[in-house]
Symmetry: C2
Subunit: 303 residues, 2 copies
Protein backbone atom coordinates (compact mmCIF):
# COMPACT_ATOMS: atom_id res chain seq x y z
CA UNK A 1 0.00 0.00 0.00
CA UNK A 2 0.94 3.67 -0.36
CA UNK A 3 0.58 6.25 2.41
CA UNK A 4 0.99 10.03 2.14
CA UNK A 5 1.25 12.46 5.07
CA UNK A 6 0.55 15.84 3.46
CA UNK A 7 0.80 18.84 5.76
CA UNK A 8 0.99 22.57 5.30
CA UNK A 9 4.66 22.60 4.30
CA UNK A 10 4.97 19.47 2.14
CA UNK A 11 4.28 15.77 1.92
CA UNK A 12 6.05 12.58 2.93
CA UNK A 13 5.08 9.52 0.89
CA UNK A 14 5.69 5.93 2.02
CA UNK A 15 5.59 2.70 0.06
CA UNK A 16 4.71 0.01 2.56
CA UNK A 17 5.17 -3.77 2.46
CA UNK A 18 2.38 -6.14 3.49
CA UNK A 19 3.89 -6.35 6.98
CA UNK A 20 4.09 -2.57 7.36
CA UNK A 21 7.82 -2.24 6.67
CA UNK A 22 8.75 0.96 4.79
CA UNK A 23 10.06 -0.16 1.38
CA UNK A 24 10.62 3.36 0.05
CA UNK A 25 9.98 6.97 1.07
CA UNK A 26 9.97 10.35 -0.65
CA UNK A 27 9.63 13.91 0.67
CA UNK A 28 8.34 16.80 -1.41
CA UNK A 29 8.36 20.39 -0.12
CA UNK A 30 4.99 21.38 -1.54
CA UNK A 31 2.39 22.42 1.02
CA UNK A 32 -1.34 22.52 0.49
CA UNK A 33 -1.59 26.29 0.07
CA UNK A 34 -1.71 27.82 -3.43
CA UNK A 35 -2.74 24.58 -5.12
CA UNK A 36 -5.66 24.56 -7.54
CA UNK A 37 -8.18 21.70 -7.91
CA UNK A 38 -6.49 19.06 -10.05
CA UNK A 39 -3.00 20.01 -8.90
CA UNK A 40 -3.00 17.47 -6.08
CA UNK A 41 -3.51 14.45 -8.31
CA UNK A 42 -1.05 15.80 -10.89
CA UNK A 43 1.61 16.35 -8.21
CA UNK A 44 1.27 12.83 -6.83
CA UNK A 45 1.37 11.40 -10.38
CA UNK A 46 4.56 13.34 -10.93
CA UNK A 47 6.28 12.38 -7.69
CA UNK A 48 5.08 8.83 -6.97
CA UNK A 49 3.63 7.85 -10.37
CA UNK A 50 6.01 4.89 -10.57
CA UNK A 51 4.74 3.50 -7.23
CA UNK A 52 1.12 3.95 -8.34
CA UNK A 53 1.97 2.08 -11.54
CA UNK A 54 3.79 -0.79 -9.83
CA UNK A 55 1.43 -1.23 -6.89
CA UNK A 56 -2.04 -1.17 -8.44
CA UNK A 57 -3.91 -3.28 -5.86
CA UNK A 58 -3.12 -1.82 -2.46
CA UNK A 59 -5.02 1.11 -0.97
CA UNK A 60 -3.68 4.68 -1.23
CA UNK A 61 -4.23 6.64 1.99
CA UNK A 62 -3.63 10.34 2.64
CA UNK A 63 -3.67 12.14 5.98
CA UNK A 64 -3.01 15.68 7.20
CA UNK A 65 -4.02 19.16 6.03
CA UNK A 66 -4.69 17.72 2.57
CA UNK A 67 -8.13 16.86 4.03
CA UNK A 68 -8.83 20.40 5.24
CA UNK A 69 -11.06 23.02 3.62
CA UNK A 70 -7.91 24.44 2.00
CA UNK A 71 -6.76 21.01 0.81
CA UNK A 72 -7.82 18.60 -1.92
CA UNK A 73 -11.29 17.95 -0.57
CA UNK A 74 -12.62 18.43 2.95
CA UNK A 75 -12.71 15.22 5.00
CA UNK A 76 -15.13 16.17 7.81
CA UNK A 77 -13.95 16.10 11.44
CA UNK A 78 -15.01 13.10 13.54
CA UNK A 79 -15.99 13.96 17.11
CA UNK A 80 -14.06 12.25 19.94
CA UNK A 81 -13.90 9.63 21.34
CA UNK A 82 -12.57 7.95 18.21
CA UNK A 83 -11.08 4.49 17.59
CA UNK A 84 -8.97 3.53 14.55
CA UNK A 85 -11.95 1.61 13.12
CA UNK A 86 -14.03 4.85 13.22
CA UNK A 87 -11.42 6.55 11.06
CA UNK A 88 -11.31 3.60 8.67
CA UNK A 89 -15.09 3.78 8.22
CA UNK A 90 -15.21 7.54 7.54
CA UNK A 91 -12.63 8.06 4.82
CA UNK A 92 -13.31 10.59 2.06
CA UNK A 93 -12.56 9.30 -1.42
CA UNK A 94 -10.82 11.15 -4.27
CA UNK A 95 -9.67 9.88 -7.64
CA UNK A 96 -5.97 9.43 -8.33
CA UNK A 97 -4.70 7.78 -11.53
CA UNK A 98 -8.09 6.16 -12.20
CA UNK A 99 -8.31 4.58 -8.76
CA UNK A 100 -9.74 5.76 -5.45
CA UNK A 101 -7.45 7.31 -2.86
CA UNK A 102 -8.77 7.75 0.67
CA UNK A 103 -8.34 10.80 2.90
CA UNK A 104 -8.30 10.26 6.68
CA UNK A 105 -10.76 12.52 8.59
CA UNK A 106 -9.54 15.00 11.21
CA UNK A 107 -10.82 14.90 14.80
CA UNK A 108 -12.77 17.39 16.85
CA UNK A 109 -13.57 17.53 20.55
CA UNK A 110 -15.20 19.72 23.17
CA UNK A 111 -12.87 21.33 25.68
CA UNK A 112 -13.66 22.12 29.32
CA UNK A 113 -13.28 25.84 28.58
CA UNK A 114 -16.39 25.68 26.36
CA UNK A 115 -14.59 25.90 23.03
CA UNK A 116 -14.05 23.30 20.34
CA UNK A 117 -10.70 21.81 19.40
CA UNK A 118 -9.45 20.17 16.20
CA UNK A 119 -6.58 18.09 14.88
CA UNK A 120 -5.72 16.83 11.42
CA UNK A 121 -2.83 14.49 10.73
CA UNK A 122 -1.92 13.84 14.36
CA UNK A 123 -4.75 11.26 14.69
CA UNK A 124 -2.92 9.04 12.19
CA UNK A 125 0.41 9.43 14.00
CA UNK A 126 -1.29 8.71 17.32
CA UNK A 127 -2.78 5.45 16.11
CA UNK A 128 0.61 4.59 14.62
CA UNK A 129 2.17 5.16 18.04
CA UNK A 130 -0.62 3.50 19.96
CA UNK A 131 0.50 0.14 18.58
CA UNK A 132 3.65 0.54 20.69
CA UNK A 133 1.97 2.07 23.78
CA UNK A 134 -0.41 0.82 26.41
CA UNK A 135 -3.97 1.54 25.26
CA UNK A 136 -4.38 4.07 28.06
CA UNK A 137 -1.76 6.82 27.90
CA UNK A 138 -1.07 10.56 27.56
CA UNK A 139 0.77 11.98 24.57
CA UNK A 140 2.44 15.34 24.09
CA UNK A 141 3.04 16.39 20.47
CA UNK A 142 4.80 19.79 20.66
CA UNK A 143 5.09 22.21 17.77
CA UNK A 144 3.53 25.33 16.28
CA UNK A 145 0.26 24.07 17.74
CA UNK A 146 1.11 21.60 20.51
CA UNK A 147 -1.31 18.75 21.07
CA UNK A 148 -1.93 16.99 24.39
CA UNK A 149 -3.81 13.76 23.86
CA UNK A 150 -5.63 11.47 26.28
CA UNK A 151 -5.81 7.86 25.07
CA UNK A 152 -8.11 5.37 26.80
CA UNK A 153 -8.46 1.72 25.80
CA UNK A 154 -6.89 2.46 22.43
CA UNK A 155 -9.28 5.30 21.60
CA UNK A 156 -8.55 9.03 21.45
CA UNK A 157 -10.71 10.23 24.31
CA UNK A 158 -9.98 13.97 24.09
CA UNK A 159 -7.18 16.41 23.35
CA UNK A 160 -6.19 20.04 23.85
CA UNK A 161 -4.16 22.27 21.55
CA UNK A 162 -1.91 25.11 22.76
CA UNK A 163 -0.55 27.81 20.44
CA UNK A 164 2.88 27.68 22.09
CA UNK A 165 5.13 27.49 19.02
CA UNK A 166 3.16 30.11 17.13
CA UNK A 167 3.18 32.57 20.04
CA UNK A 168 6.95 32.05 20.41
CA UNK A 169 7.41 32.79 16.70
CA UNK A 170 5.19 35.91 16.87
CA UNK A 171 7.04 37.31 19.88
CA UNK A 172 10.44 36.53 18.31
CA UNK A 173 9.64 38.28 15.05
CA UNK A 174 7.39 41.21 15.88
CA UNK A 175 6.87 43.68 18.69
CA UNK A 176 8.79 44.79 21.74
CA UNK A 177 10.53 41.56 22.69
CA UNK A 178 11.74 40.65 19.19
CA UNK A 179 14.60 43.17 19.32
CA UNK A 180 15.63 41.90 22.76
CA UNK A 181 15.88 38.20 21.93
CA UNK A 182 18.62 36.60 19.93
CA UNK A 183 18.28 32.87 19.46
CA UNK A 184 21.72 31.26 19.85
CA UNK A 185 23.51 30.70 16.51
CA UNK A 186 22.87 27.33 14.87
CA UNK A 187 25.11 24.66 16.36
CA UNK A 188 25.33 26.45 19.72
CA UNK A 189 23.77 24.64 22.62
CA UNK A 190 20.65 26.05 24.26
CA UNK A 191 20.97 27.89 27.58
CA UNK A 192 19.46 25.16 29.73
CA UNK A 193 19.60 27.22 32.94
CA UNK A 194 17.64 30.08 31.32
CA UNK A 195 15.11 27.62 29.93
CA UNK A 196 14.53 26.00 33.32
CA UNK A 197 14.31 29.46 34.94
CA UNK A 198 11.53 30.26 32.45
CA UNK A 199 9.64 27.07 33.35
CA UNK A 200 9.96 27.98 37.06
CA UNK A 201 8.80 31.55 36.44
CA UNK A 202 5.66 30.28 34.70
CA UNK A 203 4.49 29.00 38.09
CA UNK A 204 5.10 32.21 40.02
CA UNK A 205 2.58 34.98 40.76
CA UNK A 206 1.36 36.87 37.70
CA UNK A 207 0.04 35.42 34.46
CA UNK A 208 1.70 34.91 31.09
CA UNK A 209 1.01 38.51 29.99
CA UNK A 210 2.83 39.80 33.08
CA UNK A 211 5.69 37.31 32.78
CA UNK A 212 6.34 38.38 29.17
CA UNK A 213 6.98 41.97 30.22
CA UNK A 214 9.44 40.76 32.86
CA UNK A 215 11.76 39.64 30.05
CA UNK A 216 11.78 43.18 28.69
CA UNK A 217 12.62 44.67 32.09
CA UNK A 218 15.32 42.08 32.83
CA UNK A 219 16.94 42.79 29.45
CA UNK A 220 16.85 46.52 30.15
CA UNK A 221 18.82 46.03 33.38
CA UNK A 222 21.18 43.53 31.74
CA UNK A 223 20.05 40.79 34.08
CA UNK A 224 19.59 38.59 31.04
CA UNK A 225 21.70 38.21 27.87
CA UNK A 226 19.94 38.19 24.49
CA UNK A 227 20.41 34.46 23.73
CA UNK A 228 19.42 33.55 27.31
CA UNK A 229 16.28 35.67 26.88
CA UNK A 230 15.15 33.54 23.92
CA UNK A 231 15.55 30.34 25.98
CA UNK A 232 13.88 31.92 29.00
CA UNK A 233 10.91 32.87 26.78
CA UNK A 234 10.80 29.32 25.43
CA UNK A 235 10.75 27.90 28.98
CA UNK A 236 8.12 30.42 30.07
CA UNK A 237 5.76 29.50 27.23
CA UNK A 238 6.27 25.73 27.52
CA UNK A 239 5.85 26.04 31.29
CA UNK A 240 2.53 27.86 30.82
CA UNK A 241 1.45 25.27 28.25
CA UNK A 242 2.12 22.34 30.58
CA UNK A 243 0.62 24.06 33.64
CA UNK A 244 -2.47 24.85 31.55
CA UNK A 245 -2.91 21.15 30.75
CA UNK A 246 -5.31 19.10 32.83
CA UNK A 247 -3.23 16.33 34.42
CA UNK A 248 -6.17 14.80 36.23
CA UNK A 249 -5.60 11.15 35.32
CA UNK A 250 -2.05 11.55 34.03
CA UNK A 251 -0.29 9.45 36.66
CA UNK A 252 -2.62 6.50 36.17
CA UNK A 253 -1.78 6.53 32.47
CA UNK A 254 1.97 6.08 32.97
CA UNK A 255 4.60 8.55 31.82
CA UNK A 256 3.63 11.15 29.20
CA UNK A 257 4.97 10.14 25.77
CA UNK A 258 6.65 13.04 23.94
CA UNK A 259 6.56 12.90 20.15
CA UNK A 260 8.86 15.51 18.62
CA UNK A 261 12.13 16.14 16.82
CA UNK A 262 15.11 15.73 19.20
CA UNK A 263 15.74 19.45 19.95
CA UNK A 264 12.14 20.18 20.84
CA UNK A 265 11.73 16.86 22.66
CA UNK A 266 14.69 17.79 24.86
CA UNK A 267 13.01 21.04 25.91
CA UNK A 268 9.79 19.24 26.82
CA UNK A 269 11.71 16.58 28.75
CA UNK A 270 13.37 19.33 30.78
CA UNK A 271 10.05 21.07 31.39
CA UNK A 272 8.27 17.89 32.50
CA UNK A 273 11.17 17.11 34.79
CA UNK A 274 10.99 20.58 36.33
CA UNK A 275 7.27 20.00 36.96
CA UNK A 276 7.86 16.54 38.43
CA UNK A 277 5.86 14.74 35.72
CA UNK A 278 7.29 11.50 34.33
CA UNK A 279 7.87 11.54 30.57
CA UNK A 280 9.37 9.31 27.90
CA UNK A 281 10.17 9.70 24.20
CA UNK A 282 7.99 8.14 21.54
CA UNK A 283 9.13 7.31 18.00
CA UNK A 284 9.11 10.33 15.74
CA UNK A 285 7.90 9.10 12.36
CA UNK A 286 4.68 7.37 13.34
CA UNK A 287 2.57 8.56 10.42
CA UNK A 288 3.67 5.67 8.16
CA UNK A 289 2.71 3.14 10.82
CA UNK A 290 -0.64 4.84 11.38
CA UNK A 291 -1.42 4.88 7.65
CA UNK A 292 -0.48 1.19 7.46
CA UNK A 293 -2.74 0.35 10.39
CA UNK A 294 -5.69 2.22 8.87
CA UNK A 295 -5.04 0.61 5.49
CA UNK A 296 -5.20 -2.83 7.07
CA UNK A 297 -8.45 -2.02 8.84
CA UNK A 298 -9.97 -0.93 5.54
CA UNK A 299 -8.88 -4.18 3.88
CA UNK A 300 -10.40 -6.21 6.73
CA UNK A 301 -13.64 -4.27 6.37
CA UNK A 302 -13.69 -4.97 2.65
CA UNK A 303 -12.79 -8.62 3.15
CA UNK B 1 5.60 76.59 34.57
CA UNK B 2 5.76 74.41 31.47
CA UNK B 3 5.22 70.63 31.45
CA UNK B 4 5.78 68.22 28.58
CA UNK B 5 4.61 64.60 28.45
CA UNK B 6 6.71 63.10 25.64
CA UNK B 7 5.98 59.48 24.79
CA UNK B 8 6.82 57.16 21.95
CA UNK B 9 4.24 58.60 19.56
CA UNK B 10 4.39 62.34 20.29
CA UNK B 11 4.31 64.99 22.99
CA UNK B 12 1.66 66.96 24.81
CA UNK B 13 2.86 70.29 26.22
CA UNK B 14 1.03 72.24 28.93
CA UNK B 15 1.43 75.83 30.05
CA UNK B 16 0.36 75.90 33.67
CA UNK B 17 -0.75 78.75 35.90
CA UNK B 18 0.60 79.19 39.45
CA UNK B 19 -2.49 77.35 40.78
CA UNK B 20 -2.04 74.43 38.38
CA UNK B 21 -4.76 75.46 35.92
CA UNK B 22 -3.96 74.63 32.29
CA UNK B 23 -3.59 77.96 30.48
CA UNK B 24 -2.67 76.46 27.13
CA UNK B 25 -1.89 73.07 25.59
CA UNK B 26 -0.29 71.81 22.39
CA UNK B 27 0.04 68.32 20.89
CA UNK B 28 2.77 67.36 18.44
CA UNK B 29 2.87 63.94 16.75
CA UNK B 30 6.61 63.45 16.96
CA UNK B 31 7.74 60.43 18.97
CA UNK B 32 11.16 59.91 20.47
CA UNK B 33 12.34 57.43 17.84
CA UNK B 34 14.51 58.62 14.93
CA UNK B 35 15.54 61.85 16.66
CA UNK B 36 19.22 62.85 16.76
CA UNK B 37 20.93 64.59 19.71
CA UNK B 38 20.02 68.26 19.46
CA UNK B 39 16.71 67.57 17.73
CA UNK B 40 14.78 67.51 21.01
CA UNK B 41 15.70 71.05 22.03
CA UNK B 42 15.18 72.32 18.49
CA UNK B 43 11.72 70.73 18.28
CA UNK B 44 10.60 72.23 21.58
CA UNK B 45 11.98 75.63 20.51
CA UNK B 46 9.97 75.33 17.33
CA UNK B 47 6.71 74.24 18.93
CA UNK B 48 6.64 76.03 22.31
CA UNK B 49 9.35 78.68 21.78
CA UNK B 50 6.83 81.44 22.49
CA UNK B 51 5.95 79.93 25.90
CA UNK B 52 9.63 79.56 26.77
CA UNK B 53 10.13 83.21 25.83
CA UNK B 54 7.17 84.53 27.80
CA UNK B 55 7.58 82.35 30.88
CA UNK B 56 11.31 82.59 31.68
CA UNK B 57 11.14 81.96 35.46
CA UNK B 58 9.08 78.81 35.97
CA UNK B 59 10.54 75.32 35.77
CA UNK B 60 10.28 73.25 32.58
CA UNK B 61 9.54 69.59 33.33
CA UNK B 62 9.48 66.66 30.93
CA UNK B 63 8.21 63.14 31.60
CA UNK B 64 7.79 59.95 29.59
CA UNK B 65 9.95 58.03 27.12
CA UNK B 66 11.95 61.20 26.46
CA UNK B 67 13.92 60.11 29.55
CA UNK B 68 14.66 56.62 28.22
CA UNK B 69 17.88 55.36 26.67
CA UNK B 70 16.34 56.08 23.26
CA UNK B 71 15.25 59.58 24.31
CA UNK B 72 16.99 62.89 24.93
CA UNK B 73 19.11 61.71 27.84
CA UNK B 74 18.56 58.74 30.13
CA UNK B 75 16.97 59.66 33.45
CA UNK B 76 17.80 56.59 35.59
CA UNK B 77 14.99 54.47 37.08
CA UNK B 78 14.20 55.00 40.77
CA UNK B 79 13.44 51.78 42.67
CA UNK B 80 10.05 51.53 44.43
CA UNK B 81 8.68 52.50 46.87
CA UNK B 82 8.76 56.09 45.61
CA UNK B 83 7.08 59.30 46.84
CA UNK B 84 6.62 62.45 44.74
CA UNK B 85 9.45 64.13 46.70
CA UNK B 86 11.81 61.31 45.61
CA UNK B 87 11.06 62.07 41.98
CA UNK B 88 11.53 65.80 42.55
CA UNK B 89 14.96 65.15 44.06
CA UNK B 90 16.19 62.89 41.25
CA UNK B 91 15.50 64.88 38.11
CA UNK B 92 17.96 64.76 35.22
CA UNK B 93 18.80 68.17 33.76
CA UNK B 94 19.14 69.10 30.08
CA UNK B 95 19.60 72.51 28.48
CA UNK B 96 16.73 74.08 26.58
CA UNK B 97 16.92 77.65 25.26
CA UNK B 98 19.77 78.50 27.65
CA UNK B 99 17.94 77.29 30.72
CA UNK B 100 17.71 73.96 32.49
CA UNK B 101 14.82 71.64 31.76
CA UNK B 102 14.23 68.68 34.10
CA UNK B 103 13.40 65.13 33.09
CA UNK B 104 11.37 63.02 35.53
CA UNK B 105 12.95 59.60 36.29
CA UNK B 106 11.15 56.37 35.51
CA UNK B 107 10.42 53.78 38.20
CA UNK B 108 11.58 50.20 38.65
CA UNK B 109 10.44 47.48 41.01
CA UNK B 110 10.98 43.82 41.82
CA UNK B 111 8.11 41.49 41.00
CA UNK B 112 7.15 38.35 42.87
CA UNK B 113 7.98 36.25 39.79
CA UNK B 114 11.66 37.19 40.21
CA UNK B 115 11.84 39.64 37.32
CA UNK B 116 12.17 43.40 37.27
CA UNK B 117 9.48 45.80 36.10
CA UNK B 118 9.68 49.36 34.78
CA UNK B 119 7.49 52.35 34.02
CA UNK B 120 8.21 55.73 32.50
CA UNK B 121 5.63 58.49 32.24
CA UNK B 122 2.93 56.72 34.26
CA UNK B 123 4.61 57.73 37.55
CA UNK B 124 3.84 61.37 36.75
CA UNK B 125 0.22 60.62 35.84
CA UNK B 126 -0.15 58.54 39.00
CA UNK B 127 1.03 61.38 41.26
CA UNK B 128 -1.27 63.69 39.33
CA UNK B 129 -4.17 61.37 40.07
CA UNK B 130 -3.09 60.66 43.61
CA UNK B 131 -4.06 64.20 44.55
CA UNK B 132 -7.69 63.20 43.92
CA UNK B 133 -7.48 59.69 45.46
CA UNK B 134 -7.04 58.33 48.94
CA UNK B 135 -3.32 57.82 49.56
CA UNK B 136 -3.85 54.06 49.62
CA UNK B 137 -5.40 52.75 46.40
CA UNK B 138 -5.03 50.47 43.39
CA UNK B 139 -4.81 51.82 39.86
CA UNK B 140 -5.27 50.11 36.53
CA UNK B 141 -3.77 51.88 33.51
CA UNK B 142 -4.63 49.70 30.48
CA UNK B 143 -2.93 49.97 27.12
CA UNK B 144 -0.23 48.39 24.98
CA UNK B 145 1.54 47.63 28.25
CA UNK B 146 -1.06 47.72 31.02
CA UNK B 147 0.11 48.88 34.43
CA UNK B 148 -1.39 47.79 37.75
CA UNK B 149 -0.22 50.06 40.54
CA UNK B 150 -0.36 49.70 44.32
CA UNK B 151 -0.37 53.05 46.15
CA UNK B 152 0.20 53.18 49.90
CA UNK B 153 0.22 56.38 51.96
CA UNK B 154 0.73 58.44 48.82
CA UNK B 155 3.74 56.44 47.63
CA UNK B 156 3.98 54.02 44.70
CA UNK B 157 4.63 50.81 46.56
CA UNK B 158 4.91 48.44 43.58
CA UNK B 159 3.42 47.79 40.17
CA UNK B 160 3.10 45.08 37.52
CA UNK B 161 3.01 45.44 33.76
CA UNK B 162 1.11 43.10 31.42
CA UNK B 163 1.68 43.00 27.65
CA UNK B 164 -2.06 42.71 26.96
CA UNK B 165 -2.47 45.37 24.28
CA UNK B 166 0.67 44.34 22.44
CA UNK B 167 -0.26 40.65 22.40
CA UNK B 168 -3.74 41.57 21.10
CA UNK B 169 -2.13 43.61 18.30
CA UNK B 170 0.32 40.80 17.41
CA UNK B 171 -2.43 38.19 17.24
CA UNK B 172 -4.70 40.51 15.22
CA UNK B 173 -2.04 41.28 12.63
CA UNK B 174 0.07 38.14 12.25
CA UNK B 175 -0.34 34.39 12.40
CA UNK B 176 -3.23 31.98 12.42
CA UNK B 177 -5.87 34.01 14.25
CA UNK B 178 -5.36 37.25 12.31
CA UNK B 179 -7.30 35.98 9.29
CA UNK B 180 -10.13 34.80 11.55
CA UNK B 181 -10.72 38.05 13.41
CA UNK B 182 -12.37 41.11 12.02
CA UNK B 183 -12.64 44.02 14.41
CA UNK B 184 -16.06 45.65 14.05
CA UNK B 185 -16.04 48.65 11.66
CA UNK B 186 -15.41 52.04 13.32
CA UNK B 187 -18.59 53.42 14.80
CA UNK B 188 -20.05 49.95 15.38
CA UNK B 189 -20.56 49.00 18.97
CA UNK B 190 -18.46 46.21 20.47
CA UNK B 191 -19.99 42.75 20.95
CA UNK B 192 -20.34 42.95 24.72
CA UNK B 193 -21.61 39.37 25.05
CA UNK B 194 -18.57 37.97 23.20
CA UNK B 195 -16.26 40.13 25.33
CA UNK B 196 -17.79 38.90 28.59
CA UNK B 197 -17.68 35.30 27.30
CA UNK B 198 -13.93 35.80 26.74
CA UNK B 199 -13.47 37.07 30.31
CA UNK B 200 -15.36 34.03 31.61
CA UNK B 201 -13.34 31.63 29.46
CA UNK B 202 -10.09 33.04 30.88
CA UNK B 203 -11.05 31.46 34.21
CA UNK B 204 -11.85 28.00 32.84
CA UNK B 205 -9.50 24.98 32.65
CA UNK B 206 -6.54 25.42 30.29
CA UNK B 207 -4.15 28.34 30.10
CA UNK B 208 -3.99 31.30 27.73
CA UNK B 209 -2.09 29.31 25.06
CA UNK B 210 -4.89 26.71 25.02
CA UNK B 211 -7.67 29.31 25.10
CA UNK B 212 -6.22 31.08 22.05
CA UNK B 213 -6.50 27.95 19.93
CA UNK B 214 -10.15 27.58 20.99
CA UNK B 215 -10.95 30.75 19.03
CA UNK B 216 -9.54 29.11 15.89
CA UNK B 217 -11.62 25.96 16.38
CA UNK B 218 -14.79 27.89 17.18
CA UNK B 219 -14.36 29.98 14.02
CA UNK B 220 -13.83 26.82 11.97
CA UNK B 221 -17.18 25.43 13.12
CA UNK B 222 -18.90 28.82 12.71
CA UNK B 223 -19.68 28.97 16.41
CA UNK B 224 -18.26 32.48 16.41
CA UNK B 225 -18.56 35.32 13.87
CA UNK B 226 -15.41 37.20 12.86
CA UNK B 227 -16.22 40.49 14.68
CA UNK B 228 -17.34 38.55 17.79
CA UNK B 229 -14.03 36.64 17.68
CA UNK B 230 -12.08 39.90 18.01
CA UNK B 231 -14.10 40.89 21.09
CA UNK B 232 -13.84 37.41 22.56
CA UNK B 233 -10.05 37.58 22.15
CA UNK B 234 -10.05 41.00 23.82
CA UNK B 235 -12.06 39.62 26.76
CA UNK B 236 -9.85 36.54 26.99
CA UNK B 237 -6.64 38.60 27.19
CA UNK B 238 -8.02 41.19 29.61
CA UNK B 239 -9.46 38.37 31.72
CA UNK B 240 -6.04 36.68 31.89
CA UNK B 241 -4.41 40.03 32.70
CA UNK B 242 -6.75 40.70 35.64
CA UNK B 243 -6.65 37.11 36.94
CA UNK B 244 -2.83 37.30 36.79
CA UNK B 245 -2.85 40.38 39.02
CA UNK B 246 -2.28 39.95 42.72
CA UNK B 247 -5.39 41.30 44.45
CA UNK B 248 -4.13 40.60 47.95
CA UNK B 249 -4.88 43.92 49.60
CA UNK B 250 -7.16 45.25 46.86
CA UNK B 251 -10.40 45.36 48.85
CA UNK B 252 -8.84 47.31 51.67
CA UNK B 253 -7.71 49.93 49.15
CA UNK B 254 -11.22 50.70 47.89
CA UNK B 255 -12.34 50.28 44.30
CA UNK B 256 -9.68 49.97 41.59
CA UNK B 257 -9.31 53.24 39.69
CA UNK B 258 -9.23 52.75 35.90
CA UNK B 259 -7.31 55.35 33.92
CA UNK B 260 -7.94 54.99 30.19
CA UNK B 261 -9.66 56.46 27.16
CA UNK B 262 -13.44 55.80 27.28
CA UNK B 263 -13.57 52.77 24.92
CA UNK B 264 -10.83 50.87 26.70
CA UNK B 265 -12.07 51.96 30.13
CA UNK B 266 -15.46 50.46 29.27
CA UNK B 267 -13.88 47.06 28.52
CA UNK B 268 -12.00 47.06 31.81
CA UNK B 269 -15.12 48.10 33.72
CA UNK B 270 -16.96 45.13 32.19
CA UNK B 271 -14.09 42.76 33.00
CA UNK B 272 -13.80 43.93 36.63
CA UNK B 273 -17.56 43.58 37.00
CA UNK B 274 -17.43 40.02 35.63
CA UNK B 275 -14.74 39.21 38.21
CA UNK B 276 -16.68 40.84 41.05
CA UNK B 277 -14.03 43.50 41.72
CA UNK B 278 -15.24 47.05 42.41
CA UNK B 279 -13.85 49.66 40.00
CA UNK B 280 -14.27 53.35 39.25
CA UNK B 281 -13.03 55.71 36.54
CA UNK B 282 -10.20 58.13 37.17
CA UNK B 283 -9.57 61.32 35.20
CA UNK B 284 -7.78 60.68 31.91
CA UNK B 285 -5.35 63.53 31.46
CA UNK B 286 -3.47 63.44 34.75
CA UNK B 287 0.02 64.09 33.38
CA UNK B 288 -0.39 67.90 33.51
CA UNK B 289 -1.43 67.74 37.16
CA UNK B 290 1.47 65.41 37.98
CA UNK B 291 3.98 67.69 36.28
CA UNK B 292 2.52 70.65 38.16
CA UNK B 293 2.79 68.82 41.47
CA UNK B 294 6.41 67.86 40.84
CA UNK B 295 7.23 71.40 39.71
CA UNK B 296 5.85 72.77 42.96
CA UNK B 297 7.88 70.31 45.03
CA UNK B 298 11.04 71.38 43.19
CA UNK B 299 10.27 75.04 43.91
CA UNK B 300 9.71 74.26 47.60
CA UNK B 301 13.03 72.40 47.70
CA UNK B 302 14.80 75.37 46.12
CA UNK B 303 13.07 77.87 48.40
Amino acid sequence: MIGVDWGSSGFRAYRLAADGAIRDRRSVACGIADLQPGDHAALLQHDIGDWLQQDRDGPVLLCGMIGSRQGWVEAPYLPCPVAPADLARHMTSVTLADRPALIVPGLSCERPDGSADVMRGEETQIFGLAATLAGTAMLCMPGTHSKHVWLRDGRIERFATAMTGEVFALLSRHGLLAAMLRPAPAGTDMDAAAFVAGVARSGRPGGLLQHLFGIRADRLFDRLAAPAAADLLSGLLIGHELRGTDWGAAGSRGPVTIVAAPDLARRYHMAYEALGIAAQSGPEDAAARGLYRLGRLIREDLA
